[in-house]
């Protein structure tokens, strides 16, 4: 689900040529940040997706925010160690329920 969304937005951010002049400042940053997070989380509404497509190529602060949010999310997913359950705990659970 987020895979397809993800690849299309990446093209939008990195691939397409912007036709309008690039905005150097963004007056809706807090709103835009929320929208960007919804997009990256795969939880955006159609309206949010549409707005994102229309604006992401022309606003430098939003592009920067997009990259930062994406990078933090990837770091949390990929770099933070995932602790595994010790075998003895799984064994204790199995033996407890068959008592």
């Amino acid at each position: 689900m987020s895979g397809t969304l993800h690849s299309s937005t990446t093209v939008g951010v990195e691939g397409r040529q912007a036709t309008a002049p690039m905005k150097e400042s963004c007056e809706h940053q807090a709103e835009c940040l929320k929208r960007i997070q919804s997009i990256l989380d795969g939880g955006a509404t159609e309206e949010e997706k549409e707005h994102f497509k229309q604006h992401i190529d022309i606003c430098k602060p939003c592009i920067d925010m997009y990259h930062l949010e994406k990078c933090i999310k990837e770091a949390l997913q990929g770099k933070v160690e995932k602790k595994c359950c010790p075998d003895k705990i799984a064994a204790a659970i199995r033996s407890e329920i068959t008592k």
Partner: protein, 204 residues
Amino acid sequence: MTTMPEIMSDTQLQGYTDEQKYQVFNKEFMPHIDSMYNFAFRLTMDEDDANDLVQDTYLKAFRFISSFEQGTNAKAWLFRILKNSFINDYRKKSKEPAKVDYQDVETTYNSDEASETEHTTDLRFETVQDMIGDEVASALNSLPVDFRTVIILCDIEGFTYEEMAKILDIPIGTVRSRLHRARNLLKDKLKEYAASMGYNKNDD
């Protein structure tokens, strides 16, 4: 105790035989044990507490297995029980400042647009890319538990907003705003960390 209030109350009790109970338990519950342990560890930040919490949660899940409808979202169901056990049984004795007043923290980080805008500026994505897992983990661990929780559920476990709303018993709108605030806090911590380590200099 004959009912379990924390389990979704709109499900009908399933009439499993003993054999079916073990089958559901082994096929639908046990495969999530590593994710459950990781969640327990990130909540309690202590291996012994995580062991106890996971064990308690699975035993509770077995005791109330009739409330679980086979083929539905077992992972979210289990996470919900774990989260409630944590709040009811572990939070009290944990070493965190007793029950962080997160209403207060939420207010602080949601006060006005200006303060939200500040958060979006000078942490650079290259800085985050350069960090190792332990550094990101310590920034995450330093957040108050309610904020840590939404980031774990969303970014580490990949739950949807809707699933998170069910696990945490809060509306989707609150999930989104709490996540937003949690991420602002996390960026502050990453920025502090980067500054203390001498990252993030503007010299490239």
